[in-house]
């Protein structure tokens, strides 16, 4: 598959002050640590992990809202990782990476009608078009996402959750992006409309040939949409592979724990649950030689505290970073 996005050894550190540390000493919160992966054209890659694992920071780096500390990001053959975030806003690639946010209520401007919300990216980043052309395009987009045209004049508070998310999706696809970053697109929606939105996203991907980075903590939903999945833990990717491989034969103990915690409708009674004890390690100045999962890992051995496990292959695209895998 032709590669659209290539992320190579990307890291992001935030300087932090640590209470009680000597004056002048430097401390860093390692939000994203040496992350590498790629997304092919038309591919949907899922990104899963607990809150605080660095998913959102990684998304900000890819959408170029935030600058990397290290590493490179290639998009559509262009090196976009070295361009400062403010300059990137004026690059043509800016229009080709778009995002759908988690809560459509929070992410839509309450003073914009649905029409204005969808028209906004066209006016700002589109090839300068007249008002008539914008209106035509907005109507076409509304049709595409299944939003009745008569709702275009409404404000967010006059729309249902599902309708609002359709507006959010129409806005995101307005400029025909190559890459769509979906940040928990259905977690604020009721299960009754979830299927409709997921199916809409799937059909848009096929129709427009977009690639998706699908960020979610709901593994049952990731399973439905993604071709491949990345599992992140405390800033590092600990496992990646095709959805079937990772879900059926997880190699990393964290992935196994994560999967065993997912409630399965219909399967009554607790199955083989792996419980994680203790708190995650601190992301501030982490020891580069200790596995991030050490201490919480049910299988951890001495070696895990002496040598950081690196991703290694388990056949094909299935990689896992565990000494014991």
């Amino acid at each position: 598959m032709d590669t659209l996005l290539e992320v190579a050894s990307v890291s992001k550190r935030f300087p932090v002050t640590v209470k009680g540390s000597p004056r002048g000493s430097e401390h860093f919160l390692q939000a994203v640590d040496d992350v590498s992966f790629s997304i092919g054209r038309g591919e949907c890659v899922g990104l899963v992990g607990e809150s605080g694992c660095g998913k959102s920071t990684l998304v900000k780096l890819i959408t170029r809202l935030s600058d990397t500390s290290d590493g490179r990001i290639w998009f559509d053959g262009h090196d976009i990782g070295t361009v400062p975030a403010e300059r990137f806003a004026r690059m043509p690639q800016r229009a080709l990476i778009q995002m759908v946010f988690q809560d459509p209520t929070d992410s839509l401007n309450p003073r914009f009608t649905a029409f204005d919300t969808i028209a906004d990216p066209l006016r700002r980043l589109g090839r300068s078009a007249g008002a008539g052309e914008v209106a035509k395009r907005v109507s076409a987009l509304a049709d595409m996402v299944g939003l009745p045209r008569e709702l275009l004049g409404r404000y967010p508070h006059q729309l249902s959750g599902g309708q609002k998310q359709r507006v959010g999706i129409a806005r995101a696809v307005a400029l025909e992006p190559r890459l769509l970053v979906l940040d928990e697109p259905t977690s604020a929606l009721d299960v009754s409309v979830q299927a409709v939105i997921l199916k809409l996203l799937e059909s848009l991907r096929r129709r427009l040939g977009m690639s998706y980075l699908f960020v979610s903590h709901d593994l049952n939903v990731v399973r439905l949409l993604a071709d491949r999945v990345l599992v992140m833990y405390l800033g590092r990717i600990v496992e990646m592979g095709t959805v079937d491989e990772v879900f059926e034969r997880p190699r990393h103990p964290y992935t196994r724990a994560l999967l065993s915690c997912v409630p399965e409708p219909g399967a009554t009674g607790a199955g083989q649950r792996i419980r994680l004890s203790g708190e995650p390690r601190s992301p501030i100045d982490p020891d580069p030689n200790v596995c991030r999962f050490y201490g919480r890992c049910p299988d951890g051995v001495e070696r895990c505290a002496q040598e950081m496990p690196l991703l290694r292959s388990f056949g094909g695209v299935h990689l896992s970073a565990c000494h014991l895998a």
């Binding site: 607990e50 809150s51 299960v191 009754s192 299927a195 799937e202 049952n220 009554t268 607790a270």
Partner: protein
């Protein structure tokens, strides 16, 4: 066979909200019961009346709400008829509640240990000199690491999962007979969710506590509840033992809800959507509030709804059940 009397029995409970746009009939003749030591789930979409039911049982509804009918019999006392001093004496002692967002439910400017101490003092759960030791014990019981130090923590210093553990310690401080858990793990990570739910399960079992678990997550209810009550637009549409509900749902809405929940072995094509949305609960409503969304609608669905017993402890409110 004379079954033991249920601990909590909700009978024909109706609640209305007065709003500027008219009277909202949030609950209409809701009935179900819970026995000692039992965990019962209430599931449904947002707006189905799950939380209103919980708030009505606790008698902490918004001032705009009015209980227009029905009873909430708890341990022989009708909570709907009870006066505020009696309710205050019971809340936190005999029945307590865990709220959805622990950060907003806890007092942000009081140390978490002291908040637990307040409950103990209010209900005589510990003597003045022993309150602190008891609060630390409770924090340890909900598996908060280093409880003696965390006693002095403010909610903002703790993670969401830790705050929810504090809420559980607070709710269970006086050993209530009934715990009402309103979306206790929504917004938490799956690993944290599993740990919190296991904790509630364990404590409930150890103390023979009854639990009312309110959730929109059918999978979570399946895992933790003995029985499930399905609500739609202020009505209880079906109520059944968990395994039976999943194996043979009788109400069309229940069946749709199950088919709409993603899980292993179900593809995107198979995943169902539920057409339409909840009806506007203001003004005149049809007898079956699901009829306008239902694929099995027939004219006789507009007649008053029968509530049929289709199996042991399995009831369905549908004129044309599956």
């Amino acid at each position: 066979m004379a079954a033991p009397a249920p601990l909590l029995s909700v009978e024909d409970l109706s609640v209305e909200f007065r709003t500027r746009e008219g009277l909202v009939k949030a609950l209409d003749r809701v009935s179900f019961d819970i026995h000692r030591g039992e965990t019962v789930g209430v599931v449904g979409e947002s707006g189905s009346g799950k939380s209103v039911t919980a708030f009505a049982i606790m008698r902490i509804l918004d001032p705009a709400a009015r209980i227009t009918g029905g009873r909430v019999a708890f341990d022989g006392v009708d909570l709907v008829a009870a006066h505020e001093p009696e309710l205050e004496a019971r809340r936190g002692r005999d029945l307590s509640m865990i709220f959805q967002n622990p950060r907003t439910a806890l007092n942000p400017i009081r140390q978490v240990g002291r908040q637990i101490g307040d409950v103990l003092l209010r209900h005589g759960g510990a003597k003045r000199g022993e309150v602190r030791a008891r609060a630390v014990e409770l924090l340890a019981q909900v598996q908060i690491p280093d409880p003696a130090r965390r006693y002095w923590a403010y909610p903002f210093e703790l993670s969401g999962g830790m705050c929810q553990r504090v809420m559980i310690a607070l709710a269970l401080a006086c050993g209530p007979a009934l715990l009402v858990a309103d979306e206790p793990t929504t917004g938490l990570d799956v690993t944290t969710q599993a740990a919190i739910m296991d904790l509630i399960d364990e404590l409930a079992r150890a103390k023979r506590m009854a639990t009312l678990l309110i959730t929109h997550d059918l999978g979570l209810a399946a895992l933790h509840c003995e029985r499930i009550v399905v609500m739609h637009a202020g009505h209880v549409v079906e109520s059944a033992p968990t395994a039976e509900l999943f194996a043979s749902p009788r109400h069309p809405y229940t069946a749709k809800l199950i088919a709409a929940t993603p899980g292993p072995g179900i593809s995107l094509e198979e995943l169902a959507a539920i057409p339409g949305s909840l009806p506007d609960l203001r003004g005149e409503l049809p007898a079956c509030r699901y009829s306008r969304r239902c694929e099995r609608y027939a004219p006789f669905c507009d007649e008053p709804l029968p509530l049929a017993e289709v199996g042991p402890r399995h009831t369905v409110a549908c004129g044309k059940p599956l």
